[in-house]
Symmetry: C2
Subunit: 546 residues, 2 copies
């Protein structure tokens, strides 16, 4: 069977746009003589639609759009993802996450999702009921076994411990499926694609069945979808692989297998860069921003974010602001100007000192002669925040937040100061990884000045300050953070590795008590299995300490 795979970047809620794209893909597939055209999970409404699903008017509009699409189909099959509804349900929401299979002008089958993920960033039980059964569709001499995303992630042969007691794929196979179709929307995290590949390979090989696994692509606020749709033959060989981090369209012919693709992942640095560029680009494109703004401190974080912004917006649409204070080293300004020149972007240089002085002067009586402390540091950061937001408001720039994951984890950042912005670009990238990515950016020529890469990290908010006055060395810090945040390791296990009870306790405590700051942080582009934001839900007020 000739199957057209449409690796699509939907806009959540924009039914008109998504419907149009689905119809265009279908037409293209027909022109290329495909018998079947497949779009990803919830492609009609975008994934994840979140509480839009709870709106009856929205669901009605989705239903109407789905029927309009179906009404335009010819003999070639079309599968797309949509919300569907059982109006007769007397228990539960009656709402389903479905694959809609249509041809000859109407919907032929609605296959509902069986396994409803409800962990990490997934909240699907909030909205969707589980399918009551799975169905095989006879079509063009084949028996299509259609499933949705999570449905394929419960293979008893692959997983040591399963999340769900049932396996809808097994049921499809028992019902005689000859081709598996899985429509998916699985958020990106580095390493996940390889896992996906291995799992799907095991499945297709063991069950001797070809699989078309169609993914969406694009960023939806903080979630990035990497595309990389995969088609396997019945020997478990990967025959087609969709583009990474971009829309794609290709034909897979289950009859004519080709060479096996062995490599599904690139280097960490390359992947993360592409992911973040897509994340930033899509946030802007889907909200209407054309230009970006970055506050350049002279440090590596803001330098990398500026580079990413230039890739996402083009250098003519990125504006930098230098906001030196009395504690800024001369190098900071010089290095920033060098970066600006390398990237070919515009900039302003606006000192904060007179304003900071004026604020401290105004507050003096209310400070009641208390000594200088972190308050004065925060004032500097917040004045910079005011400048950045003012320029964003005045000129319509998207303000990119520049903090990294190590800072966000430990609260080493000022709320309403450097945490200001619409989107946190590298908030899911540890400081040690920021260095690696910056070096990768410079692999052909020096774009991020080596002075920026080599300098001792400092917030430059007081004389001779360095990050390590407050934080452990970044190698140690990031090791602890990764274990704690992503690997679900805890105090005792981490101490076994890091062998410094005091440091481990201190870091874990910093993470725990700074939940209040992260509550008010901008959305963080997610590139690991556990980012700050929607997928990580800690009580702000709580007393659990080691």
């Amino acid at each position: 069977m000739k199957i057209a795979v449409c690796q699509f970047n939907p806009i959540i809620g924009d039914l008109k746009y998504n419907k149009q794209k689905i119809l265009e893909g279908y037409e293209k597939g027909i022109k290329d003589k495909s018998q079947l055209v497949v779009f990803p999970e919830l492609s009609l409404c975008g994934y994840p639609p979140q509480d839009l699903v709870e709106k009856q008017e929205f669901r009605d509009a989705v239903k109407q759009a789905a029927e309009e699409i179906a009404s335009k189909t010819k003999s070639a099959g079309l599968i797309f993802g949509s919300i569907t509804e059982d109006y007769e349900a007397d228990v539960g929401t009656g709402i389903y996450n479905s694959a809609v299979f249509c041809y000859n002008g109407k919907i032929q089958l609605i296959q509902n999702k069986t396994l409803i993920p409800n962990y990490d960033v997934f909240d699907e039980v909030r909205y969707f009921e589980s399918a009551k059964d799975v169905f095989v569709s006879e079509f063009c001499g084949e028996k299509l076994g259609i499933s949705i995303c999570e449905d394929i992630w419960n293979d008893a042969d692959y997983w040591k411990k399963r999340l769900y007691p049932i396996d809808p794929i097994k049921k499809l196979l028992q019902k005689g499926a000859t081709i598996l179709i899985n429509i998916s929307a699985s958020p990106y995290a580095y390493g996940r694609r390889k896992e996906r590949y291995r799992m799907l390979q095991t499945l297709t090989q063991n069950d001797s069945i070809p699989l078309v696994y169609v993914c969406c692509v694009g960023a939806q606020t903080d979630l990035i979808f990497d595309g990389a749709s995969m088609c396997f033959d019945k020997k478990g060989r990967l025959i087609k692989l969709g583009k990474f981090f971009d829309e794609d369209y290709f034909i897979y012919d289950t009859e004519n297998s080709g060479e096996a693709i062995e490599t599904v992942e690139r280097s960490f640095e390359e992947e993360i860069l592409d992911a973040l560029i897509l994340g930033l680009k899509d946030y802007a494109a889907k909200t209407g921003f054309k230009k970006a703004l970055v506050g350049l401190s002279g440090g590596i974080d803001s330098a990398l974010v500026t580079y990413i912004a230039v890739q996402a917006f083009g250098n003519e649409n990125v504006h930098a602001v230098l906001m030196p204070s009395q504690y800024s080293s001369e190098g900071s300004i010089r290095d920033s100007e060098k970066l600006i020149k390398n990237l070919g972007i515009s900039y302003d240089n606006i000192t904060i000192q007179p304003v900071v002085n004026k604020i401290i002067e105004a507050l003096k009586p209310a400070f009641r002669n208390k000594p200088e402390d972190i308050t004065e540091e925060n004032i500097q950061s917040r004045v910079r925040g005011i400048y950045l937001m003012a320029l964003s408001n005045k000129h319509g720039y998207l303000l990119c937040t520049t903090g990294n994951k190590s800072e966000m984890a430990t609260g080493y950042a000022t709320l309403y100061g450097d945490m200001s912005g619409a989107i946190s670009v590298i908030g899911d990238v540890y400081k040690t990884q920021v260095y690696k990515i910056a070096s990768y950016v410079n692999r052909h020529k020096e774009i991020i000045p080596k002075e920026i890469i080599n300098k001792v990290p400092s917030a430059e908010l007081r004389p001779n300050q360095t990050d390590q006055d407050t934080l452990p060395p970044y190698e140690t810090l990031d090791l602890i953070l990764k274990m704690y945040l992503e690997e679900y390791k805890e105090y005792n296990e981490i101490v076994k590795v890091v062998k410094d009870e005091h440091v481990v306790k201190k870091v874990l405590r910093m993470v725990d008590i700074n939940e209040f700051k992260r509550k008010q942080a901008p959305p963080v582009l997610r590139v690991t299995t556990k980012a700050f934001g929607y997928g990580r839900r800690y009580p702000i007020v709580q007393g659990w300490r080691r």
Copy 2:
């Protein structure tokens, strides 16, 4: 049976504190000759523990604490809520939300929760498996049917449409239960208590069985629990009712029924005030803040928040800041000073104008001769934000955010400006309700000056500005917002009531496009069935428009 009801305010994660309180309540119950002492849902770890549940070390500590408690029991029974774990589970998390029933030094029964809520603020499917069965415990000549919160909310006699296909209470009755015990943690919203009362009354009356319904009390960040534990006799009469918004302890004797209590709710104003006072007080108590700070604008919102802060912290621990600008009316300062006098609190008066001017001067070249717009208004608000945060940092004040729900809904607020703060006190109270509550505050004598109540609402960020330059009249606005946010009404239904397509469209659009601001807002104390925050999850970037 004599049952001691312990309406407890746990601290999430503070196992030592919670364990101590449970043991104290048990001892008190024994002293009062109770045969059974009952604590609320998850009382040992606090509710909702959120992702703490995913930590193995945390769960191990909970298990140990539960066993320690059980080991100290004598012949009197003790029921408390705890996380428990099935280490043998080969599918799913193996983690349960349980009622632990112990006596004679050990755990006698672990009853797991059957119905796992996963809507609004509830995410329990993320953590907990559903009970495989329910059990009746023979104890002191009775058969106890123990259930947990949601388990009791699926009565086919009461609900037209049920959420779940099974009814664990029915099963307990079929197994011969003679007394029902429900341990609960159900967040407050005005009106919910009456619904709870009616539902439990129907249940106990229809099934001729007494019920002990034990609730927790206190605030957990944004969620407020109102207590009001209820004991019904087998005629469906409410015999005991716990205090509202406070810890309580009382004995219910199922053999000696008393007078029926008919009233379970007070006036809206009284209830909301008590709820918000508790919310603010607990946020402070559980995070260690002793003093509060409020920015007083001269408007009704900040006046009401200051009153609430005084109730929560005591007038000696509340500090106000007046931050007039060139657009502040003379009345604003005079009225604020009158309020300050009425409340007996300290204050500072710090002008923002010189700093605002200095900032605009510094930004002038970067503004590139563009005309004045909302940028300059935001700068004023953000300078106030800097002042407030600086005083909070310097003196350790908890900064109370003063915006109301109507503003938060429409985005009529400045991010990093007036939205700054640790907790949004009235962010779930509409402007029209703020007026009602302020009048209620003044019922005996004028505390909030009538000038503040009577003045035309204005942000005072430009000359002669009023809120209604931008927003529809508050009566109309709040009507639309309540229908849209809380009643799940949508465009067509709202237009039928409000009869102004343009206004309805505008308001709904304002709500939808300001999700990005609310993402970065502080937690909002929840007093309605749908507050901004955890229970309302809309995509920030999305294209659904009417």
